[in-house]
Amino acid sequence: MTEEELKAIIVAELKKVAPESDPSGLGADEDLREALDIDSFSFLRVLVGVSEHTGVDIPEADYGKVTTLAAMIGYLAVRQG
């Protein structure tokens, strides 16, 4: 998947938990949870969706490595099969 495709998947999952927001307008380095006011439950849902759409496993220990759009895209890009 290209970075654009990965971004589209992430944005779609963010939109599910924060329907009133516009995640595509987020800065690449903004903290996702802070910017969209997402709690740990909703963030887990986002990661579940992203993981299942990309086939990339995100171990719990790596949750801290996917806190921004840029970081998450980068994380997925190097791990996708």
Binding site: A18, P19, E20, R33, D37, D39, S40, F41, L44, L47, V48, S51, E52, D57, I58, P59, E60, A61
Partner: protein
Amino acid sequence: MAEFRMPSLGADMESGKLVEWLVAPGTSVKRGDVVALVETQKGLFEIEVFEDGVLGEPLVAAGQTVAVGTVLALIHAVGAAPIESAPAEEVGARTEQPVAPAPVAVPRPAAGPVTRVAASPSARRLAAELGVDLATVQGSGPHGVIGREDVERVAHPPAAAAAGAEPTTGHAPPESASSAMRRAIAAAVSRSNREIPHYYLATEINLSPALQWLESLNARRPIRERILPVVLLLKATARALRSVPELNGHWLDDRLHVRQAIHIGFAVALRQGGLVAPAIHDVDTLSLDGLMAAMADLIERARGGRLRGSELTEATVTVTNLGDRGVTTVFGVIYPPQVALVGFGRISERPWAEGGLLGVRRCLTATLAADHRATDGHLGGRFLDTLDRVLQQPEAL
């Protein structure tokens, strides 16, 4: 024959709108069946019946707003004449509400702080932002206290309303869902603050052992089956309440009614603002997986607007977890007629002295807000101490 009444879905509810009947008259119903949708200030709720029988003709039509306690339909014993209309005088009758008595008359708030102009803090802030002189604003609150709307009216008089963010028509718009929610919360917390003499206790808990245990459990699981730390906190709360049951119950008729079942009201912040604290039932009997599933289901439905009426009334204690927002310590407002609220703050690394050594541990501050009419600080302290102890043995949860 039984009466199916407009339930009270909280200390703050006086009336509800019957939005839709979901079951036709003449249908057999069982205790717990959802038969109608009711709208309150807190949103839309599925309402269940509490008896087995056959649902009679509706006595209140869809679309009508009626007082709490109003008979909505009769439920006939199976085998009895299935459908007969109720005596007219029963319609609209009110009964005592066993779980949530109607709020007492609201005493007028004392005149504002010692300033020349009485205005709410948020109205003051808004006035400062918009450059409005409060002396020029006519307050519409009790005793002429100035609220946000009053400031907005001066800042954006109707002719200039188009400048506002929302498209505006010439006349006042109907109350929005979020301001209705705000009023519902206001009524509940005002009653709490007026009636409940709170006491507050806090303790710092070393969560490192519990989190390490949970991380090793989650490491073996696919992401969809992982458990969040808050699930451990909920389960540990239920365990501690087993040891200190006096905090699990309701204060009614000037005495404490301890409840056997532990139904934890879990505060859920809603995206559009406001919150609800629906009950997760029998938390002490659920496995961690079962509790994670129950919590996920409850959060989804709370945010999707499809809670059951019983979920709003059956909580025996409330847990609020504000750790996600970076808060260290929660000083809770008890939801009447409950007698306790347990608060959890953020999990963070802190210096921790143990056995003469200083180390770093992941810690959290747990707080208890409790009703001093029902319990004393000694007992509250025992609860927090037990909670701590339970969390040191996560494998037993």
